[in-house]
Amino acid sequence: MVKGFTISDIHQGLKEKKFSAQELAQNYFKKINSLDEKLGAFLEIAQNEALSQAKRVDESISQGKKVSLLAGVPMAIKDNILVKDIKCTAASKILEGYQAPFEATSVKKLRKEGAVFLGKTNLDEFGMGASTENSAFKKTCNPHDPTRVPGGSSGGSAVAVAADECCCALGSDTGGSVRQPAAFCGVVGLKPTYGAVSRYGLIAFASSLDQIGPIAKTIEDAEIVFNAIKGKDPKDSTSVEVPKIKNLKGPYGVSSRAVKIENLRIGIPKEYFGEGIEPGVEKIIKETIKKVEKQGAKIEEISLPHTKYAIACYYIICTSEASANLARYDGIRYGLSKDEEGKSDLLDVYLETREEGFGPEVKRRIMLGTYALSAGYYEAYYLKAQKVRTLIKQDFEKAFQKVDVIFTPVSPFTAFKIGEKIEDPLAMYLSDVFTASVNLAGLPALSLPCSKLGKLPVGLQIIGKPFRESEIFEVGRFIEKIV
């Protein structure tokens, strides 16, 4: 199933001097050169910078220094995460040509481990979309069928990993943007617990929902990258130190048990099956659950009764937060500016810069969010959604009293055709139906490829209790072996 090298393959190869980090990087650039014209995963290639990073790794190895697992590992970074001195656009014309003056904490941590950054990957503008079609710069194709979307918004990162244009990648997930493209492209993607990974240097979309997460070929690789980027950061006040499982308290219960499949209690929420889900996808997910049950796990039907309100709740909250976050693109400090000679009015600079710089979906969300926060509507929309958010969160808290993890499909369907939903914003929003609740509740969740429907991958979502990423990985590793 795994195409190309995993992190441990690379580590072994470098240690045994089968290849150098520079040769490896060169090889990946060759691959990108031959594949990416068709796939469109990358917005920016950073060949010189990557090769000098790789050179430093080779020097350390030749000096006999012990290098970390991630040393020399070629990675791709979603283009809404800042890599110092490399262009960063969030796939928006409003940031065309913007050079990152500082580095995201997650990237800094990976750089310290010796990871090599090959380039920046395509996305839906500012992370707003489920197909990567909302990029202002290029289309990205699904490597399993180029007439179909890769999912989104981290579509470029998922494609780069799936097509082995890199070993692993970073994405960001606000309502499913790591998990859904991972599922559509047949790779592993993790949305960590809210706060587990610093958001410093991630271009903000919806601050109470955004998390950076790894996209990789295997559970092991996703875990290595997650462990490298997690942790409290003084530069992100919402980040926390991931507690040891034995110290976890709170509404999710204190008990911690080593994950043994025969002890595992798996919740299957009835609201995630039936109406609206492609029958082939449902069949594959149910077969996977059966396989796990055969190994001794206890399967329990559960209810998350407020699931049907998740999309409405999510889109009110994320557009409200986005309308505030995107106010910073005003043509004054950086990015596109229509501040031209002869123009006297500051308001005109704002209006024209934003009219020209933002794409249709971003404008739509700014409008929705501004509407939801405006006088007279605040209580009916934003405050109401925050209260429904509490109910959605409580649904999970109740469910996790009875079960250890929850299994659902990642998406109700496999990758759809390019162009199929782009003219129907509401249909695109409904693509997030199985993923958005997890962000509202702040929980960790993994997307794991489990089978294919025709040539298109289907992903299983494993939702865990807060800060129990290690348990999710354990469960995932087990399933990875049996599917």
Binding site: Y98, Q99, P101, F102, Y194, G195, P234, S237, T238, V240, K308, Y309, I311, A312, I316, S323, A327, G331, I332, R333, Y334, G335, S337, D339, K343, S344, D345, L346, L347, V349, L351, R354, E355, E356, F358, P360, K363, R364, I366, M367, L368, T370, Y371, S374, Y381, K384, A385, Q386, K387, V388, T390, L391, K393, P425, L426, Y429, L440, A441, G442, P466
Partner: protein, 96 residues
């Protein structure tokens, strides 16, 4: 359907220039999406308090310490601005 005037009002609040065609399209699309949001009307939240952040419950304070950035970083931060003067970003008149 929300009115053209409402769309124009919200666009002004958002400092967003829209063409006539965009305003028309926005009217239709926003109406459709806002109607979908009405689904929340059926949820009884009279006894529920709002959630703004899922995990973090406490405010985080830090000492108010000024940290000087290197001139290199300052220059990089300024590099993207369209109009500058003596190390400052130049803005059009705000008042009158």
């Amino acid at each position: 359907m929300i009115s053209k005037k409402e769309v124009e009002h919200v666009a002004k609040l958002a400092r967003l220039g829209l063409t006539g065609k965009e305003i028309e399209k926005m009217q239709k699309e926003l109406t459709l999406i806002l109607n979908y949001f009405d689904l929340l009307k059926e949820v009884d939240v009279s006894q529920v308090s709002p959630t703004s952040h899922s995990i973090l419950l406490e405010n985080v304070d830090r000492e108010d310490i000024f940290k000087e950035e290197s001139p290199e970083t300052v220059n990089k931060m300024l590099a993207g601005a369209p109009a500058k003067e003596k190390g400052h970003i130049k803005v059009k008149g705000v008042l009158g």
